[in-house]
């Protein structure tokens, strides 16, 4: 452990939160000082306790009552609607928040594109798992392909990897994913769709991306997509290209699959990993930046600039 790790409060300990805790546990830059859930009997809470972390079932209210020096950074892994109130409270306390819900309130960050933005904003929104998977590829394409008139992203996640909050947040998930794609690519006509697969054995997390543009060059597309994925693989090694094709000369069609590290759930649950890998990447960069506060941090530059 680093001598001066960032002190983390983890709010929400469902599937995303519990997987994130394992990743925080592994990081030398972070130390979790409180896990705030709502149900002491929940599997995630038990797990947090067994790893030796302090837990409370008082949720956000218990969190804000803690001494302020207990934590520097809050990961909000609850749900989009709760995040609205959480942010109101945490903002007044001057806390930095990384929001893993699809609330769309904070500044959207996708680490391979604009990780450096996360230093300047107090509330970082990680869009959605589909957004984290699709936006790097779509943004890279948008910088090279002229005249894009429509983008579509279809996410498929295994039923076993989708917790109750996500199930109730599908509307926000779609809205925020679409918004994220618009913000990063500049293309306005965007559609996001979500499938929850009941298949057993469970289907791997995957995203299918389509883009309509006139006269695209398949070879150039292939090169751009491969380059974008290479960068992604630096923090999400299970990211794999399945198909990259140009259909009917005007539809770029890319499918990718993301296998997780198998921390909380087996590798099919890449949706947890891509969110949490993004969260950890940003938090670690924040930790490094704090340590070097006298010198500006050497942040990863976007490859697209």
């Amino acid at each position: 452990m680093n001598s001066n790790p960032v002190k983390i409060a983890l709010l929400g300990i469902g599937l995303i939160g519990a997987d994130l805790l394992i990743k925080i546990h592994r990081s030398k830059w972070m130390q979790c000082t409180l896990v705030a859930g709502r149900n002491r009997e929940a599997v995630g809470m038990q797990r947090a306790a067994s790893l030796g972390y302090p837990i409370t079932d008082g949720g956000i209210d218990a969190l804000v009552e803690q001494p302020q020096e207990l934590y520097d950074l809050v990961f909000d892994a609850t749900d989009a609607i709760s995040h609205i109130r959480h942010w109101q409270l945490l903002q007044t306390l001057g806390k930095k928040v990384i929001d893993l819900t699809p609330s769309g309130i904070g500044h959207m960050v996708v680490p391979s594109i604009n990780a450096e933005d996360s230093m300047a904003h107090a509330n970082i929104n990680l869009v959605s798992c589909g957004g984290q998977a699709a936006i790097p590829v779509l943004t890279a394409l948008s910088h090279h392909v002229p005249g894009i008139r429509y983008i579509e992203a279809v996410t498929t996640a295994s039923s076993l990897s989708i917790g109750r909050s996500t199930r109730l947040n599908l509307d926000e998930y779609i809205q925020t994913t679409e918004c994220g794609i618009r913000v990063f690519t500049g293309v306005q006509a965007v559609k996001a769709l979500v499938n929850i697969s009941p298949a057993r054995p469970p289907a791997n997390f995957r995203v299918a991306m389509s883009m309509l543009a006139p006269g695209v060059d398949p070879e150039a597309i292939n090169a751009i997509v491969h380059r974008a994925i290479e960068v992604l693989r630096s923090y999400i090694p299970g990211y794999r290209l399945l198909t990259c094709a140009v259909l009917n000369k005007e539809r770029v069609f890319v499918t990718v699959e993301i296998q997780g590290r198998g921390d909380l759930l087996p590798t099919y649950a890449g949706n947890l990993d891509i969110m949490n890998a993004a969260a950890v990447t940003i938090a670690e960069q924040y930790a490094i930046a704090r340590l070097r506060c006298s010198n500006p941090p050497a942040l990863q530059k976007s490859i697209y600039e």
Binding site: E152, R164, K191, A199
Partner: protein, 358 residues
């Protein structure tokens, strides 16, 4: 012109219904929704108007309209519709005087915004769907509809993938969310009549709201399965004119209704007008009348969503692979409706496994 003098209620032709104490069956007709799959979602205003007016005259209880995959589904993934949801709803609403207007939505595809739009355009019944074991995805949208006093049904798609007990549990959950009817879709046309009996019976024991059944005809079982559903206690049955729907088509409406009546169920639907509507549908809506093609049979056997058919056939041809192999591979992967992006992947993988011929 139809012979109006012969507009006898179907009841008179099927005397058995008089003597029966069997329940009344509500007929829901998704020709203008599921049928959209068969024409790549290209039904136009005139077609909607023509058919909606005809089934309204026949006294069909619910007329469903929309993109084949429901509200908000027009996309490259499953096909861009020729009309917007608003255009479809407006058009059909104007034609219905006695029939109620229905729509379908799948959370993850449609959102609450789409529901707001449908309510604005006068929808009477909304069917909220989720795949077999995923009924909790309907909680929010069923709740939203009930708060606004819109009739809401909970539907389990691809229901052959789950056991009767599990389907019963999921249906009970949707009843708890406020669904005023719950039931199952045989999206792949995979069921035999005994499968249906078992499932509807299990659901019957678990819920107190009406039960619905939506069949597909891939194995030639749609009418028999729908009858089995009614016999086991379902009281809302779906049927489409000439079976106009995804893949091998749905339960053929104009056969379903008289079969139910002969078995003692009343529908109060006018037979001649119903037959006229079906004739009109064949003439005005369809490129061809649905048949049980070889791919349709394979789709049913492998348990793959009927709506994949058009795309599978096109992709198979483009990549030089056997469409039947694609279906069986999709079945092995347990693909559900909405996962059309798997088709190209599967075709490309199959292509790689074919040895190059010299």
């Amino acid at each position: 012109m139809p012979l109006h003098g012969c507009d006898v209620p179907i009841l008179l032709l099927c005397r058995k219904a008089f003597m029966s104490n069997k329940p009344r069956i509500t007929i829901s007709d998704p020709s203008l929704r599921d049928g959209n799959h068969a024409v790549r979602h290209q039904l136009n205003r005139e077609q909607l108007r023509t058919y909606a007016s005809a089934v309204n005259a026949a006294g069909v209880h619910i007329v469903e309209v929309g993109h084949g995959n429901g509200l908000g589904a027009s996309s490259l993934q499953v096909g861009l519709a020729c009309l917007t949801d608003t255009e479809m709803l407006e058009t059909v609403r104007e034609c219905l005087t006695s029939s109620r207007m229905g729509v379908f939505m799948l959370p993850g595809w449609g959102t609450t915004r789409d529901l707001v739009l449908a309510i604005k355009h006068g929808v009477d019944v909304v069917r909220v769907g989720a795949h077999c074991t995923e009924s909790d995805l309907t909680e929010r949208h069923l709740g939203f509809l009930r708060e606004r006093d819109v009739e809401a049904h909970g539907c389990l798609l691809m229901s052959h993938m789950a056991s009767p007990e599990r389907l019963a549990e999921e249906c009970a959950r949707m009843e708890g969310y406020g669904a005023q009817a719950v039931g199952i879709f045989d999206s792949a046309g995979h069921y035999l009549h005994t499968d249906v009996t078992e499932r509807i019976s299990a659901i019957r024991k678990a819920v107190s709201v009406p039960i619905l059944f939506h069949g597909h005809n891939n194995l030639g079982m749609a009418v028999a399965n729908s009858l089995a559903a009614a016999e086991a206690g379902a009281s809302i049955i779906d049927g489409c004119a000439r079976g106009f729907g995804a893949g091998a088509g749905n339960t053929q409406l104009e056969a379903l209704v008289p079969v139910l009546e002969r078995c003692g169920y009343s529908t109060s639907i006018n037979l001649y007008r119903l037959l006229d509507a079906a004739d009109l549908a064949e003439k005005e809506l369809m490129e061809k009348v649905p048949t049980i093609s070889s791919e349709g049979i394979v789709s049913g056997l492998s348990g793959v969503f009927s709506g994949f058919r058009t795309k599978v056939v096109a992709v198979a041809e483009e990549h030089g692979v056997d469409a039947r192999d694609i279906f069986f591979e999709l079945g092995r992967r347990q693909a559900v409706a909405g996962q059309e992006d798997l088709i190209v992947d599967v075709a490309m993988e199959l292509r790689k496994s074919i040895p190059e011929t010299p």
